[in-house]
Symmetry: D2
Subunit: 287 residues, 4 copies
Amino acid sequence: MAQPDTARLLIACDDQPGIVAAIAGVLAAHEVNIISLDQHSTDAEGGRFFQRTVIHREGLAAHRPSLEADLAAVAERFGMDWSLHDAAKRKRVAIFVSKYDHCLMELLWRAQRGQLDVDVTMVVSNHPDLADAVRTFGVPFVHIPSAPGAEAKAEMERRQLELLQGNVDLVVLARYMQILTDDFIRDVGAPVINIHHSFLPAFIGANPYARAKERGVKLIGATAHYATADLDEGPIIEQDVTRVTHAESAAELQNRGADVERLVLARAVQWHAEDRVIVHGRSTVIL
Amino acid sequence: MAQPDTARLLIACDDQPGIVAAIAGVLAAHEVNIISLDQHSTDAEGGRFFQRTVIHREGLAAHRPSLEADLAAVAERFGMDWSLHDAAKRKRVAIFVSKYDHCLMELLWRAQRGQLDVDVTMVVSNHPDLADAVRTFGVPFVHIPSAPGAEAKAEMERRQLELLQGNVDLVVLARYMQILTDDFIRDVGAPVINIHHSFLPAFIGANPYARAKERGVKLIGATAHYATADLDEGPIIEQDVTRVTHAESAAELQNRGADVERLVLARAVQWHAEDRVIVHGRSTVIL
Amino acid sequence: MAQPDTARLLIACDDQPGIVAAIAGVLAAHEVNIISLDQHSTDAEGGRFFQRTVIHREGLAAHRPSLEADLAAVAERFGMDWSLHDAAKRKRVAIFVSKYDHCLMELLWRAQRGQLDVDVTMVVSNHPDLADAVRTFGVPFVHIPSAPGAEAKAEMERRQLELLQGNVDLVVLARYMQILTDDFIRDVGAPVINIHHSFLPAFIGANPYARAKERGVKLIGATAHYATADLDEGPIIEQDVTRVTHAESAAELQNRGADVERLVLARAVQWHAEDRVIVHGRSTVIL
Amino acid sequence: MAQPDTARLLIACDDQPGIVAAIAGVLAAHEVNIISLDQHSTDAEGGRFFQRTVIHREGLAAHRPSLEADLAAVAERFGMDWSLHDAAKRKRVAIFVSKYDHCLMELLWRAQRGQLDVDVTMVVSNHPDLADAVRTFGVPFVHIPSAPGAEAKAEMERRQLELLQGNVDLVVLARYMQILTDDFIRDVGAPVINIHHSFLPAFIGANPYARAKERGVKLIGATAHYATADLDEGPIIEQDVTRVTHAESAAELQNRGADVERLVLARAVQWHAEDRVIVHGRSTVIL
């Protein structure tokens, strides 16, 4: 999966004629090849335009400043938000966990097998239980205990932020059972992906499996989303479900759900790692 | 699908030793063959027990009174709710619609093809639009218009109840866009199945597709449930979903959802027709 | 779904730098807006390149000749196959059936509801059974009986070709139980889509449901594909499956499969209608 | 998941009246409670009858001989095959692997988490690569190398049989890339479950992912089945699929398929562990 001389160009702007030609023209002028190009307009008339272009050019690194200068000029003309991501530079990820290990193990395992294009640089937990399991993968495990009270909480987050700021490109909450404060999400300096153990917006909040059992639902789901101040309301990246029956207990629903959770979270993290996910209001565009 | 001499025995009681042996003993004593037997206990210890037994015996109709007498004695002993349903006697169904035709057509079509074991005896609508489509199937179409105001509503329901009481075994709301009153549901004398155009309990209430689009969900669902006073809260019979992307508009989500709705509703009605669905609190057991 | 002034540009060529820029440049020069653009390269290095671009311009019809001249020049330079399809011009479709009606009805019904962007101009059958059902939709039904022997077969296909040649843009085999000859497929002058009642390449040939039951498979599928001389080997457009259990008889598997068939065929025809399907060797690219 | 005093009674016999009553009568007479009862008849008229009954009784172990004597008498009368499995006695499993680790890891991980009711007593491989990964779980890893030639093969199987005979209740081939001989399967003295990396019977044999890519299929599947002399033709226990597109390379299809394989294999092993799978000819009944 090493991709030297390859980068991903993301742009977002108001929809208007000539965008594709302008960008493609700059790329052609710089002898940059388009590996793939995906786009989305929120509306046939007007609306917002998004494009992800994977590009390749021998010696891209050396050439990048002059390419960026020309892209900046086009971006200025069209009022574009844009960014250019080096495909060879894997994102540094911190995983937050408590005691449930299934999502954590799935991510560590895929990263080790080369099926998840990230570097897991640390695992942070409010419990010590999973230290050995994590260190087996050669990944540092940091135990920052939680304690009751607002002051303890603030202290815990201070220690977490010290660890994270500048050191990670992504935080993944892999069934981390603590609420993050708005301040933390604002200050951490990296996007935060959470896995919620239900098909949102059904069963927002606590104990979704018990409530699903009580309600007699026929499908159990999981949702990966960006964490925002309003925890279960952030933009959804991926969801999936599995069929269940009345014969399964709440505990069995939890096991069935755990299998969905780990696959949904792994897909969401991989798509984020490949710069495929663009946030648009409360929703996402996956390119 | 004609099943002479076949019946379905449903029982529900508190779980206790000896239930299966007692019922099977009565059946064997009456030379009744067990075609299939499904059961469910809500809890390994204690809890509620449900059983559906499909039975067959030459000349069952003539023999039925003496069989019922012995079953009643067992039921008395174990405190069972029980019922015996003649498999050859198809349930009489009234379908309620407004203007959307996809669920209605699916049901009529399946009934005509022999894939839905019910007799659709009437279609009732508050709009005249679907009269021709329905009558093509040889099914009576009754237009009972809605009008503003509580009195008009009461009058409409009075006319509906006149039509239905004693004449139908099941009412299916196939995207019927009027709220039924609690009085109607209590007085109609038959269970009512509704199709809700979302994966309940997500998007309870109006405009679920627009809200799903706005929320950026990745799956669109539908839920068939028994209607109760609290419309979207009745026991769920069946649910399903289909995968969607950001590229689909709210109108396209609606079309995608319509395909899920009609299959989910058809399955729910067929299961009800086969006496497979037992209500247990706010949920169902499907045997 | 009326789309005046809108067209779909399909191109296919060997992958090479500058394609996107060249096409986008022509479009921009003609003040043509790109509504959507999808592309696929079969290989990151070399390989084959495919692109579908939905374009819009006020007064496109009048402007089309000059646009086409410039596109032809670019196509010449890059060695492109290309075509430009007017989105407002719906494809004329002939549906072939025998006695099974489920796929036919699904297509007629969707076309009538505006959910299938084709004009069904005729239904051709070797049996008279479905004449009334078809004519209810205002669609001509033509009965061309089959008879034993090569000569009768040749005569039947002669009559079919007379009906079809020049009159249709697509032929859909909606569970048509006759084998088409290679000559027919070559001479009919339009692509032919077939629905096969199994998850190809499993259960190629006759009686797939009985064989699936005998083999104890846990999923039942259907496959829509372009018909070629080797009937079950043409490029696959769409496939889907549904879960089944040992408790379902071969007849029930057939009913379950019928539901999959009609949805799979409807999706395949709609994608073809939208010029989304490009054949590439034995497979397809869906853009 | 400890289930003291619980057992699973499996019976199979020609369908005939009175079976359920006779078994339930014996159980009731022994004050044995029925926790769950599932049955299947292959045909409404005649055919073969299968039943799985989960039973519970205080002090079952001490009571078992007298219960078995009465069951044997009933079995004699009805010509039943029957077996009684102690739910507290977990099956001893040997896992065979080569170099792919995804199915192996899934099984080890689930067993460790208590989500797979087996004891993995050894892992056997023809390659040394996965020794460390296996021993981390506290499971013995035995390297029995393969070598060219029939004699080496016979020697390898001799060593494997020495290890296995009497020591295991189940052998799982978790992407083991060697063909087992008929002699091995006959002599090993335990059922063998294999995971095949395609939706059988499609793509029987080698390189299914490459062939699926070349054929342009839209779904990728996996099949868990009992191994028989004809390797890819044994009775299917479980199958599943996942949706893929033209944009995915054969290598990506392989990764997507690996996720299906490990879930399908885990479900098949768990069902076997719970004595839910009954072989019937070339198919299975899952109770």
